[in-house]
């Protein structure tokens, strides 16, 4: 309730009445009628509101309880411990004899996997397309523009389904599948790429790597100090990187079986080894990345354009090449501007991963939908799913807020 000068009226009126009613008690006159008193109204208003809300929730809860009992289920979460019987084709270790809770955890892990990789890839692709949209080269600019205009205006679900079915079925079968030098494969079965396999010596080698990082960090600091003192170019990366690599190599040689490269191979109708990306995972990943990248491209373009033109001109006047202008002057400031809208795009990508239900990738939404059908507790499961998505959203927002604070602290006044 906003207050306004409306309360002035009664006071003035009472003041006038005071002059009329000589002899009345002062206290009486200065008090306005209780229902015109704004403070009272605020309290009562909130009270009424709260009462209505609580009553409504109670009614809903009673209805829910009654309805749930009518179909013979309950409102508890005990069913999570029972056997699920839901087949989940990919993800962390799981078999249908385990509990619903386990199935849920596997589904959440799958969502995190697709969202995490998707965010990184979408950011990269979006950056490229965004910069391309500002390129002086007409062809590149137009292609990027067509990309953004087409992708942004088509529903994401249609795109995901298209990439999955349209592309998956256009790929050859596993027998005649595409292979990259015999170490990476692509076919209708999915994709398989070489992946490091953690061996026994991994822990020890990790310590070596840590030492190497510390040493490289020291070299980095030393070269920076040299630069500050003498003005000579520091070539930080050129100095510290070989140090890191040398220490890592020495450590690898000494420790032995730390990390191996697991190269996949085609075994009949399956891939064996390596890191396997199922067709469904690739489908939803490609669909999400391409869609979100179009939006990120617009954010990148908008934020670069929002950087004061004077900055670019000053950089030009200083003699920086266009690439240097972009790298040292424009992009850092643009990044600052871009952080809040990027946050919402990352959230959108995470929430759009729920569309994997259309391509049968077993992530949170599709598994929970199956669980509702089988276990029949829609209320509990839906609440659990919403809580999970809310947690993921809050985490991403929190991280982006930290990033925001870091970049805006460095540049005061922007």
């Amino acid at each position: 309730m906003w207050t306004g000068p409306g309360s002035l009226g009664p006071r003035l009126a009472h003041g006038l009445r005071f002059t009329e009613m000589a002899g009345s008690s002062v206290a009486e006159v200065q008090r306005a009628a209780i229902w015109r008193n704004v403070r009272f109204l605020r309290v009562v208003g909130q009270l009424v509101f709260a009462v209505v809300v609580v009553w409504a929730f109670r009614e809903l809860y009673l209805n829910l309880e009654y309805g749930v009992r009518r179909v013979g289920t309950d409102l508890s979460f005990d069913f999570l411990q029972t056997r699920s019987g839901i087949p989940i084709k990919e993800g962390i270790a799981y078999d249908p004899n385990q509990s619903y809770l386990r199935a849920y955890v596997v589904a959440v892990a799958n969502t995190v996997r697709v969202a995490g990789i998707g965010v990184v890839l979408a950011m990269l692709l979006g950056l490229v397309i965004g910069v391309a949209r500002l390129s002086p080269n007409w062809l590149v600019r137009k292609i990027a523009q067509v990309y953004v205009e087409v992708i942004r205006n088509t529903p994401v679900l249609i795109q995901i389904i298209f990439w999955y079915f349209g592309i998956l079925f256009a790929l050859p079968l596993i027998e005649g599948g595409l292979s990259l030098g015999g170490v990476a494969f692509l076919s209708q079965r999915g994709a398989a790429i070489p992946w490091p396999h953690i061996g026994e010596g991994a822990g020890a080698w990790g310590l070596w790597l840590l030492g190497g990082l510390v040493l490289a960090g020291a070299v980095w600091w030393w070269r920076t100090k040299v630069n500050e003192r003498t003005g000579r170019p520091h070539h930080r990366v050129l100095w510290s990187l070989p140090v890191l690599v040398a220490v890592a190599a020495v450590g690898y040689a000494i420790v032995g079986d730390a990390v191996r490269l697991d190269v996949p191979e085609v075994a009949g109708r399956l891939y064996r080894g390596g890191f396997q990306l199922s067709g469904e995972f690739t489908g939803i990943l490609v669909g999400l990345v391409i869609y979100t990248a179009a939006f990120i491209a617009e954010i990148v373009r908008g934020s670069i354009l929002a950087v004061d033109r004077g900055q670019k001109e000053a950089a030009q006047a200083l003699g920086l090449s266009p690439a240097q202008q972009l790298r040292f002057v424009v992009l850092p400031q643009a990044f600052r501007i871009a952080v809040p809208p990027l946050n919402s795009q990352f959230l959108n990508l995470t929430k759009n991963s729920s569309l994997a239900v259309a391509v049968a990738y077993p992530e949170l939404s599709s598994v929970s939908s199956t669980m509702i059908n089988q276990a029949g507790r829609p209320f509990q499961i839906t609440m659990l799913v919403m809580a999970t998505y809310l947690t993921m959203s809050l985490t991403i927002s929190f991280v982006m807020n930290v990033v925001n604070r870091v970049v805006t602290r460095k540049g005061e006044g922007r």
Partner: protein
Amino acid sequence: MMDRVPTELERVAAMLKEEPVVEFAPRREPVAPSGWIRQNLFSGWFSGILTILVGAVVGYLGFGLLKWAFLTADWTVIKANLRLYMVGRFPPDELWRVWACVYLVTALAGLSWGVTRKRLAWTVRKAATRGALAVLALASLAYLLDGVRIWVLVGAVVVIYAAAVMAGRLGARRLHIPVIVGWVLAFPLIILLLRGFGGVPPERWGGFLLNVVVAVVGIVLSFPIGIVLALGRRSSLPVIRVSCIGIIEFVRGAPLYTWLLFGLFVLPFLLPAGVVLPNIVRAMIVVTVFSSAYVAEIVRGGLQGVHLGQYEAARAIGLSTTKMMAFIVLPQALRSTIPAMISHFISLFKDTSLLAVIGFIEALRIARIAPQGQFSGDLRETLIFAGLLFWMVAFAMSRWSQRLERRLGVGER
């Protein structure tokens, strides 16, 4: 014709006479094609390499796409399912209702277009592209439709242009209010047309019609609810503020698909035992609530943008809170949010395609189940057609929003 940019006086004079302001770019030297190529495509060695690479890739993909589209693709699946695509299970003998709605909407769209456009500058290039597009559209329509329906559709296009020209003639300023009133009235009128006088129950509305109707209902109903939520979020009363923040964050935290599941499978339990809402109504409720949360956030941004001095000035002249909000604050706030709002509405329209995975027979679902039997299950043609339907509307809306922004001077004042 003028060969210099009009002065401020000339500009004001033109505006007062309600003529469109004639703007010109400075006279450009005509560039020979070879000069243009050198400047835009090969300005440096890197640019040259990019042009060649990108050109090669795009040429290869584009050629492959065209070859597929014209040679191998089987578009008869769309022709066979066209009615399902557009209206789903709508009874064929009641289709006149849909046509009536189409004409109503195109007339209003034409008027809106006329109200916002400047005088068309028909250069050779624009005429060529528009002519080519028109020919392409007519050809594909001729392929898809037969007989009478194509003339009905052509009639709708004619209505758009006629309305636009008429709007231009009558003067844009006078038509602002009627157009807005027209759009506001159109919404219940369309529902009446479809449902009233022994009409078709909402369960039978399907196809693209369903997408459009759900989107329109969601947009129209979420707008006031979103504003209320945004105002509530800025309230000084802690209970109301916390409730609104809670609602907004809770609704925004989950994806639309989860909310649709909630609406379809949990909401019936929450309602009292006798009350039964049809599926489509529940879907509309969910879409409306979901959209309101986003509208609330957009309006909040707009409210934050209104200068502090406006509030103080409003108080100083003695406006009550309601009057202050209605006459001073909200108009400014909403005006600055127009681009974000329209972008959200476009996004909502696209999100109605999610109804396909919930079991509603709308455009995308038809795309998924249409290619049965003799069409050997090839989804590419059907998906492209469904995507094209959405794309056309979304693209038109985003272009119109850009034009509207320019006209209203958003961000300039």
